[in-house]
């Protein structure tokens, strides 16, 4: 074999090796995978078209529009919950005539209300599992102006007898289950070291460790303690 042909052979081998690395990365556990084009994801999050409902609501700690859960269902049969704000500046209640399509939204920095009709492609945090008939999620809203960062703990419930208790570094909250859902807002920093305990009538109990947005942004909390 001549030096030139050996060199060509070695180069080809190295190129092939790079190819093996490119193709083999998923197999060795690196973050990667197959495209999700034919996945169940679309049906899981896609709205089934039935009217959304208002669930639990609570006053805003800063005196602005009330927080409220919006409940929807997805095309694969999942039940889903979103947390947002209700139209209207009456901090004591939601207008009984209000609509979960037109009167659910967010409050802007200037205090104005923006309606958020259901996005047909995404209906919130969902679950289908029959033996754990609830969802449990925490939204983290950054601080804004004079308002401190807010954590919104919420979920949908498919069981009548479920209790939710949230312990933060400053208080313990027994969160009522109302209209098939629960909702609690607390200062985000209070979640440090906090826990939530959910109990079902069938004896099932789940304990979840809570995290602050600061812990999450620094990479702490989330990786090791669910």
């Amino acid at each position: 074999m001549t030096a030139r042909s050996r060199s060509i052979l070695i180069s080809a081998g190295l190129l092939a090796a790079v190819g093996v690395g490119v193709g083999g990365a998923p197999a060795i556990g690196l973050v990667s995978g197959t495209p999700a084009a034919d996945s169940p994801e679309a049906a899981h999050f896609a709205w089934d078209g039935r009217p959304p409902r208002f669930g639990a609501d609570v006053a805003d700690p800063h005196g602005s529009n009330r927080w409220v859960v919006r409940l929807t269902d997805s095309k694969d049969g999942s039940f889903c919950a979103e947390a947002g704000r209700a139209r209207g500046r009456d901090a004591s209640r939601i207008d009984p005539a209000s609509s979960p399509q037109e009167d659910f939204g967010r409050v802007e920095a200037d205090g104005s209300f923006t309606a958020l009709p259901v996005d047909p492609n995404g209906v919130g945090a969902c679950s289908t599992t029959p033996d754990a008939p609830f969802t449990f999620a925490v939204d983290h809203h950054p601080s804004r102006g004079d308002e401190s960062a807010t954590a919104v703990i919420f979920g949908a419930v498919k069981s009548d007898a479920l209790s939710v208790t949230v312990g933060t570094k400053t208080a313990t909250y027994a969160v009522p289950v109302t209209r098939g859902s629960f909702l609690l807002t607390v200062p985000d920093d209070d979640l440090a070291g906090g826990t939530a305990v959910l109990k079902l009538a069938n004896g099932l109990a789940k304990t979840y460790a809570l995290h602050t947005a600061k812990e999450l942004s620094s990479g702490l909390g989330a990786p090791s303690s669910p």
Binding site: G33, S39, H140, A222
Partner: protein
């Protein structure tokens, strides 16, 4: 002498091949997050989801556990603003942070910061039309 040289040459070649494999793997990972808005890894679908279109300002950071992990984190990051909002999902709940919940942002500036306990290490996915 010649045998020694051959052995040395063989060792260098093996080292070069291993290095090349590593480089390829690294390139694959980088490409997966830069040109790959979302995908399934270890049975967990996750990433950046544009919703109805890539330009309507409604987009999602998601992790769909698929019966695997018991905890997911999904954050929405927008260039110039940092993390504009995030969600944690526990148990069988799917994680889905919607841009609409947190503000009005230009979709192509968005990205998804995702994690699923024990399955997907924390990393970022970008939309196909990511504009920095």
């Amino acid at each position: 002498m010649s045998q020694g040289m051959d052995r040395l040459r063989g060792g260098v070649l093996v080292l070069a091949v291993l290095t090349a494999v590593s480089l390829g793997a690294f390139a694959r990972t980088a490409f997966a997050t830069a040109g790959d808005p979302n995908h399934s890894s270890g049975g967990v679908e996750h990433g950046f989801y544009p919703g109805g279109s890539g330009t309507d300002g409604s987009f999602f950071s998601r992790a769909y556990p698929g019966g695997g992990p018991t905890y997911e984190y999904c954050g929405l990051v927008v260039t110039g603003y940092g993390t504009v909002g995030s969600q944690e999902a526990y148990g069988t709940t799917t994680c889905s942070a919607w841009s609409g919940s947190f503000g009005s942002y230009t979709e192509c500036h968005g990205s998804a910061d995702v994690y699923a306990l024990g399955v997907v290490s924390r990393h970022t996915h970008y939309p196909l039309n990511y504009c920095g």
